[in-house]
Assembly symmetry: C2
Homo-oligomer: 196 residues x 2
């Protein structure tokens, strides 16, 4: 029965995105997706536990990339520099040939409040995982959360910029620029508000 379908997950993912984008997420069933590329519903569920997984299935890879970036920073690296390393690692998961798929995926998420909620939850989980990894490296409680949340905010903003029509820079370049903007912003304020 379980015939091997070469490239089935990728074909299902691409078909799902196109159907979600044209018909709407709620109006598209797993069967619709499978049939549109000549596969069965059974094949769909062999690869994805549900319809949402087509959109959020790659989450562990992104989380792991963030954590690998935290891990690979040499001892003695400051919390924000560790986050910079995590951002370089996580953004490398999205090379430019994923840009148009990412753009389509985001347009589907942005139009559905439940999917936006789920995305917010996923980003919050990344921040929690990064903060835990920072604390495991000896970064203080509050500093770890601040650094991790900043990293996820930078990632989110960079991602939104990366998928804009006409944007040419890589996600890695954009994230580095957004992080520099954050540092410039806070640096400007540190002088007048004072550091501890």
């Amino acid at each position: 029965m379980a015939r091997w379908e070469p490239g089935a997950p990728e074909r299902l993912q691409q078909a799902a995105l196109e159907l979600f984008a044209s018909r709407g997420f709620e109006q598209t069933t797993a069967t619709d997706i499978a049939q549109s590329v000549g596969l069965t519903e059974r094949t769909f569920f062999r690869h994805f536990s549900d319809k949402r997984e087509v959109l959020f299935g790659g989450q562990e890879v992104v989380v792991q990339a963030f954590l690998d970036g935290v891990e690979s920073a040499p001892p003695g690296t400051s919390p924000i520099e560790i986050v910079a390393s995590a951002l370089r690692s996580a953004t490398a998961v999205f090379p430019d040939d994923r840009r148009s798929t990412s753009r389509l995926r985001q347009s589907v998420i942005d139009r559905n409040p439940a999917l936006r909620e789920r995305e917010r939850h996923k980003l919050a989980s990344i921040a929690t995982a990064v903060a835990d990894a920072l604390r495991a490296r000896g970064v203080g409680e509050v500093a770890a959360t601040l650094a991790a949340e900043s990293g996820v905010t930078v990632f989110g903003l960079a991602f939104a910029q990366w998928i804009r029509e006409g944007e040419q820079r890589s996600l890695t370049e954009i994230a580095a620029a957004v992080l520099r903007e954050l540092l410039a912003l806070t640096g400007e304020a540190a002088a007048s508000l004072g550091s501890p």
Copy 2:
């Protein structure tokens, strides 16, 4: 019919928190809450549209306080200093006599995933409102989001610290300290990562 009940909303809120904390949020009905302070379900629904509103009803006040703080910063103030002003304004909504109620409320939220989700959504809405207000003051697109998200992260961390057992400092003091920690963290990194 609609007898005026002096202090009814406050009594209902306090009773609700105690019941949510002892029995659990899901296990407590609006009728339970009303009856526990000798009021009717009808009175409950005159003051709150649903059970969750008892927990999240004050949201507009907090958002408005953030926006008032943005508004009251003098022209030419840097984005992070505007956020510092917003934090002073928002934290003033929580004087120390609200600390024990806030602690009880948070313990209810922390034990219920749906309530945690709603809280995350509320915080995200505050960040969006603050970012919009910053943009209306001429702060750039990316800088506005970075500054607003940082402000909300600082608020959340300060709030969690404020309701810890034994904490004596005011929420305003804690938020100022957390913001200084963020500035110190980023200042440390700015030197090695470089500003644009």
